[in-house]
């Protein structure tokens, strides 16, 4: 807090600060080109999905034995990454760490985008997507899928509410600071701000509801990834049949979510010229947090592989040999090394906690996180209890098809679109909270006066 404050000139008034943070709310050519590019890519991917709808799920590489492929690993990755909203705003924010303020909105936008799209990812894996409604008509509470649908929807709604509530004061500021922006945007700000005036009573309600949301989001976020891990852990298959899958997945989710946050931080800082707000200090702090969660994840990895590896029970042994020394060994060790162990070591060294090295490390960790989901989902199914015999060769080994890869890219494009649009429509750094935390407004009663300038 103290360090970041030095980056701001002390004489900058509240008005200047607000103006500065509203700078990014502007549709420009670059944004239009970017969105155009994303839209065209999305259309191509959706065409691939059309082919899948027309011809059947068989256009993907999945077959009777490996029947969950990259659609499911993508789904797990999406749910995992969305947990960063809870980690940054909930855990870190609630513990009174004020430095995290400029990062909360980025984290919440990531959470909303990934949680919203996760539901679509799972639909792309369904053989009869048009029967989705059966889940509500004939739903059986015994099935973890029902639990997953419930908690992911809840998490999405809470994340959206949290994002919105913390945005209300900023929307009110927007009324005076959106000259030259489209009329429609001004109108949107006006409606969404719900007539916020910054009165003492309003601030009280806002703070209270924010805290309620932050407390609520923690168990819900924990449950979304725990339940997602149970989709695997409730089966009898060696490699999935594990009692630590819940915490193993949750700790892994923090790693993938934080690496996504690092990449987003770097991007927004650079493109939106927010060097004064997202400083080296923030990167340093996030790096330390990433080290912490990575160490926890490493600990769970050790448990997950070392304990069955020590015993080498009949069916576990087949799976572990393939993973650690067999067909998937290269992928497994690359992911563990480049995506987890080396990043931990590097981030312990100070020069690597600067923005650019962090970006590169973040990309490695994020890619590793995606591939780790693949390692968890796919190899287990290649070695069921009973041998795979009298089947065509494409039933024995799984390899994703081009159509399948395109369909898996579609949700990533959608996430980028949601993040881009939200980051364009609203200030990416919480304005009001920054003003309050910087001490430019001392007290709730003073806000009332300042708001009338």
């Amino acid at each position: 807090m103290a360090e970041s404050q030095t980056n701001i000139q002390q004489d900058s008034t509240v008005d200047n600060l607000i103006k500065d943070l509203f700078r990014t709310v502007r549709l420009n050519k670059g944004f239009n080109i970017w969105m155009g590019f994303l839209s065209v890519s999305l259309v191509i991917c959706l065409y691939a999905y059309y082919i899948q709808l027309r011809d059947g799920l068989g256009v993907a590489g999945i077959r009777d034995y490996v029947s969950w492929g990259i659609y499911i690993s993508n789904f797990v990755f999406f749910v995992a990454t969305s947990l960063v909203g809870m980690l940054v705003s909930g855990v870190v924010g609630l513990s009174g760490q004020k430095w995290v303020t400029p990062l909360t909105r980025i984290a919440e936008i990531i959470a909303v985008a990934f949680a919203a799209v996760a539901g679509l990812v799972i639909v792309s894996d369904m053989g009869r997507p048009e029967r989705l409604v059966n889940v509500f008509i004939h739903g059986r509470v015994q099935s973890p899928i029902l639990w997953d649908v419930t908690v992911v929807t809840t998490y999405f709604l809470i994340s959206l509410l949290l994002l919105y509530i913390t945005l209300i004061p900023d929307l009110a500021y927007g009324k005076d600071h959106l000259e030259g922006r489209p009329k429609l945007l001004q109108k949107l700000y006006d409606i969404l701000s719900l007539g916020w005036k910054g009165r003492k009573a309003e601030v009280k309600i806002l703070k209270k509801s924010t805290i309620v949301m932050l407390i609520l989001i923690i168990p819900v976020a924990l449950s979304i990834h725990t339940v997602t891990s149970w989709l695997f852990a409730v089966t009898l298959r060696p490699g999935w049949d594990s009692s630590i899958f819940g915490p193993y997945f949750v700790s892994g989710a923090f790693v993938s979510g934080l690496s996504c946050l690092v990449i987003a931080m770097y991007f927004f800082r650079k493109n939106y010229k927010l060097e004064d707000y997202i400083t080296d200090f923030h990167f340093d702090k996030v790096a330390k947090l990433l080290v912490l969660v990575s160490l926890v994840y490493l600990y769970f990895n050790l448990n997950e592989f070392l304990v069955p590896g020590y015993k080498m029970k009949k069916f576990d042994a087949v799976h572990l040999r393939e993973l650690l020394a067999g067909e998937h060994a290269l992928l497994f060790w690359s992911v563990q090394g480049l995506g987890l162990i080396i990043p931990i070591i590097l981030l312990l060294i100070k020069p690597f906690r600067k923005p650019l090295p962090m970006l590169i490390i973040g990309i490695f960790v994020l890619a590793g996180s995606w591939l780790k989901r693949y390692i968890i989902v796919v190899p287990v199914q290649e070695h069921p209890f009973l041998p795979i015999q009298h089947e065509p060769s494409n039933f024995m080994v799984y390899s994703p098809t081009l159509i399948e890869i395109l369909i898996s890219i579609a949700p990533i494009i959608m996430v980028l679109m949601i993040i881009s649009v939200l980051a364009k429509l609203f200030p990416i750094i919480p304005v009001w909270e920054t003003v309050v935390h910087k001490g430019l407004i001392k007290d709730e009663t003073e806000i009332e006066n300042n708001n009338h300038i």
Partner: protein, 312 residues
């Protein structure tokens, strides 16, 4: 009517319409009653028909008492498919010492259920338990577990456990999530990744849960213990097709079990205890309904029988 229309009174039009309406109504009533009477005349008491009830009994009723039930045949099939045959508890016994991998069971099954060659409700696997024990062929249908992992995880109750034993699937309800494939330790389930083999031919068939035909794109298919055959008191397709006497099938409650090839009926409990029967991976707690008799005293050498595979 002519008079009515000439009437110059202002109220006349309403009056006229009213009368026309009355006449019309009367006409319809008369006509329909005549028609009904004629219809009634055609049917006389004493004409009996033989009918098969839903639980498989043959009964005779008077034609006049037969009411056309306005039920959707699909809904009817779906409802019936979920009701077990009362008092029955079906089990299968597979004698591994007799299996020569003729694969006739697979052919019969795949043709009954309109499956593609790579879709197995029953498959024969070459097994070798240890380095020192010889290899043997193991027919592997769905184990119709009494504690079925696939049923537990199904989000929509598409796959279900029936009171008489079989685990069935309603492919009109299945959403194609394949959680059951992930959950099944016996790899007993198959999926319709593309349009099924006989999609065009089966277009007009009404779906039968007990046979799982027609197959549907994007849904699961699995061994039904030939529930449609059990309904009419017949042995399953695979059991009757075996030339080598591998399969026994019967009712646990009666403690009687019939060999599909020799049609010989024996005591189930005696067959199991005399031969050291076991269940496939019973340590998983799935409680299978298929029992295996160990591959002992085989009077023929083990062969790959790859020519049989090519044929099938």
């Amino acid at each position: 009517m002519e008079d009515e229309s000439k009437n110059p009174k202002p109220k006349s039009r309403r009056e006229f319409v009213k009368n026309i309406g009355l006449i019309g109504l009367g006409g319809i009533a008369l006509g329909s009653s005549l028609y009904a009477a004629k219809h009634f005349e055609e049917k006389k008491r004493g004409q009996n028909v033989k009918l098969l009830t839903a639980d498989g009994k043959l009964v005779e009723v008077d034609l006049l008492d037969v009411k056309q039930l306005d039920v959707d045949r699909l809904t009817n099939n779906q409802e019936r498919g979920r009701k077990g045959i009362p008092g029955k508890s079906w089990v299968m016994v597979v004698d591994l010492s007799k299996c020569r991998n003729a694969r006739k069971c697979i052919d019969a099954c795949q043709s009954a259920h309109h499956l593609r060659p790579e879709q197995y409700h029953i498959n024969t696997l070459q097994m070798k338990d240890t380095d020192r024990t010889p290899a043997y062929h193991m027919p592997k249908p769905c184990q119709h577990c009494d504690n079925p992992p696939c049923v537990s995880v199904c989000p929509v109750d598409a796959t279900f456990k029936r009171s008489d034993g079989p685990v069935l699937i309603d492919n009109e309800r299945c959403i194609g999530c394949r959680f059951c494939i992930a959950a099944c330790p016996y790899s007993a389930r198959s999926f319709n990744w593309f349009e099924p083999k006989d999609a065009e031919k089966d277009k007009d068939l009404v779906y039968d849960v007990e046979l799982n035909v027609p197959q549907k794109k994007g849904t699961i298919t699995k061994c039904c213990f030939s529930a449609d055959r059990l309904r009419i008191n017949q042995l399953p397709y695979c059991v009757s097709a075996c030339p080598n006497g591998v399969y026994y099938f019967g009712d646990e409650n009666e403690d009687a079990i019939t060999n599909g090839t020799t049609k010989e009926t024996v005591r189930l409990s005696k067959l199991l205890s005399d031969n050291g029967a076991y269940q496939l991976m019973e340590e998983l707690g799935t409680k299978p309904r298929v029992f295996y008799l160990p591959p002992k005293n085989r009077l023929f050498p083990f062969s790959d029988n790859t020519e049989n595979e090519k044929k099938s």
